[in-house]
């Protein structure tokens, strides 16, 4: 009788604990704050058209944040993720243009390039044992340089040629960069890609063996190895997942703008990391959520557009983003500290 009562009490308290233990708590509070704040300061952000723009902005960051969050939960960083998006777009564009093929051939080539970059990052990390911060700092610089150099070599210019007249462009554009109408508002297909990736990433993380391995290699790689988790494959696979996201993101940019600026992408890798950390991913790995990273990307979208609709100097955007990062991580830390204290036996 008493033990039944006791277990009921434990069960009741744990439903609140279970909610508070979710990694997304800090980002939810942050999202609530920025949504309310900008709804008051810039009421026009509430119009359906503005909401669509906010979601679009969020999706451009959010697509990459899915891969970066999974990688961070697996215990690693990818500083090359920002320029890798440009590399993918450049690869597709120049391959198709120079060889005069259907653009879909270029799209396929870019996928191979992106996956290969991810595999190379992962392989280098595993083989050298160097921290991923260092390995991907190296590939970041290499890709940044190669993007500029190869583009100049091939096109004699800093940007690629317009591919909008080439065969296959329209079908590729409809897949990667079209808009569709929802109740009179134009919505970008990029948002669908984002939502689909978030759903897929969450499912993999929480409901598959690979997801279990991702948490384990990030939480304690030695323990994971000792019970037979394939840590090399898991880590290399995670870097390749970032590559896949970079490909999707790169294809969106290519078919949205028809040409690619070879110097782009620098600095975006930090914004992906910010989204993941705001969303509750531990910098040290082993803990986090893809949905949290999506909320982190949403905060980013709300702030970047909110500053515009409030008619402020866009410089304030970075300031807000930094403040959100601190606030959300502090909330995450405090909550986790409270909840994860050992209960007296």
């Amino acid at each position: 009788m008493t033990s039944q009562l006791a277990s009921q009490r434990v069960a009741r308290r744990s439903s609140l604990r279970i909610f508070l233990m979710r990694p997304e708590v800090g980002s939810l509070i942050g999202a609530l704050i920025v949504v309310v704040f900008f709804s008051v300061m810039a009421p026009s952000i509430r119009h359906p058209g503005s909401v669509s723009t906010v979601l679009y902005q969020s999706s451009t960051l959010g697509i990459m944040a899915v891969g970066v969050a999974l990688l961070m939960i697996g215990g690693e960083f990818d500083l090359s993720a920002g320029v890798a998006v440009i590399t993918s777009a450049l690869a597709a564009s120049m391959f198709a243009y120079q060889l005069g093929t259907n653009v879909w051939v270029g799209v396929g080539f870019a996928l191979l390039v992106s996956l290969a970059i991810g595999a190379f990052n992962g392989w280098l990390l595993v083989r050298t044992g160097l921290p991923s911060f260092l390995v991907t700092l190296g590939t970041f610089l290499m890709l940044q340089g190669a993007n500029l150099a190869v583009t100049r070599l091939v096109t004699g210019n800093v940007a690629t040629n317009d591919i909008s007249n080439m065969a296959g462009f329209n079908s590729a554009r409809s897949i990667f960069a079209s808009t569709f109408n929802v109740g009179g508002t134009d919505v970008s297909v990029s948002i669908l890609w984002w939502l689909a990736l978030v759903a897929l990433g969450t499912w993999i993380l929480l409901r598959t063996r690979v997801g279990n391995w991702i948490f384990a290699v990030g939480g304690n790689a030695r323990s994971a190895r000792a019970v037979g988790v394939p840590i090399v494959q898991t880590k290399v696979g995670l870097f390749m997942a970032v590559g896949l996201c970079a490909w999707i993101s790169g294809m969106h940019q290519l078919f949205e703008y028809n040409t690619v600026q070879s110097g782009g992408g620098v600095g975006l890798e930090l914004e992906y990391i910010v989204a993941a950390v705001v969303g509750g991913c531990l910098l040290t790995g082993g803990y986090g959520s893809v949905i949290g990273a999506a909320i982190g990307a949403l905060i980013f979208g709300v702030v970047s557009q909110g500053v515009v609709y409030a008619d402020w100097n866009p410089d304030w955007f970075k300031f807000f983003l930094g403040a959100m990062l601190l606030l959300a991580t502090l909330v995450n830390m405090l909550v986790r500290h409270q909840v994860n204290r050992k209960q007296p036996a």
């Binding site: 409901r207 000792a226 994860n340 050992k342």
Partner: protein, 262 residues
């Protein structure tokens, strides 16, 4: 004694040596582990106890000598291979992932899935239920199987790791200093489960530097000193006093006793 040696050896080491660079961590070790017995490996810090079990569990390769499992010469390339031979290890650091839930830790590396690829997914309900049952069988009743394992006490974590090894069909269970960080009461709990594993027919290798803990459950004692086997004796041939004396390095202890005598 004769019927004990009639039980076939599961793991047998002959003249095994291991070097870390220039350091000779183990030299010329002979050891036989049988089913239904607790083999205790004792020794001071740095004696080579962890190194010895890392060879048996596939963490490190040996440099010389022969390791036989079920009579077969083996050179494990990874802990996974050792697991496939039925050798499970509960390391000093327990091989648990602190922020993961109890049931996810229990099944880590051997998850149960359901459905067809590409929809193959974790059978969450089944894993939670099995983990809960297996822990209850060992007398551990946790309020919340979804809680991060870091919230459990040290003794409870040991038992989760032991329960996991038994559940996955281990024939040899290796425990590296399971009682080192525990209080008296929790140590007792863990020793009880060591005896339970032995009675279930497993060959248990129990590493300790506490001869009193070892003598409570041990059938067979091996004392290491600076990488050499100093003593290899059956329980019947040894008293607890002799074991303590051997562990403290016999002659060294006598000298110390003499010095300290007031």
């Amino acid at each position: 004694m004769t019927d004990a040696s009639a039980v076939p050896a599961v793991v047998q080491l002959s003249n095994v040596s291991k070097y870390y660079g220039n350091i000779c961590a183990l030299s010329d070790i002979n050891l036989t582990v049988r089913r239904g017995e607790v083999t205790c490996i004792l020794g001071d810090n740095g004696a080579g106890k962890s190194t010895l079990i890392k060879i048996i569990s596939g963490m490190h390769p040996h440099d010389a000598g022969v390791v036989r499992v079920h009579g077969k010469d083996i050179h494990f390339a990874s802990p996974r291979e050792a697991l496939d031979f039925g050798i499970a290890t509960v390391y000093q650091d327990l091989a648990l992932v602190p922020l993961m839930s109890v049931w996810r830790n229990f099944f880590l590396g051997s998850e149960i899935t359901t459905g067809m690829w590409p929809f193959r997914r974790l059978d969450v309900e089944r894993m939670r239920r099995v983990a809960d049952e297996e822990l209850k069988n060992l007398g551990i009743d946790l309020p919340d199987i979804d809680a991060p394992i870091a919230q459990l006490s040290g003794g409870e974590m040991q038992v989760v790791a032991i329960a996991r090894a038994i559940h996955f069909g281990a024939q040899v269970l290796i425990l590296d200093e399971p009682t080192a960080a525990l209080g008296v009461k929790q140590s007792g709990v863990v020793l009880k489960y060591i005896a339970a594993a032995r009675d279930a027919g497993l060959g248990v290798i129990f590493i300790s530097h506490n001869p009193h803990h070892a003598y409570l459950v041990g059938d067979h004692f091996a004392v290491l000193n600076l990488g050499r086997m100093e003593l290899d004796a059956k329980r019947a041939e040894l008293s607890i006093e002799q074991l303590v004396r051997h562990m403290a390095g016999g002659a060294e202890l006598q000298a110390l006793e003499h010095e300290m005598h007031r």
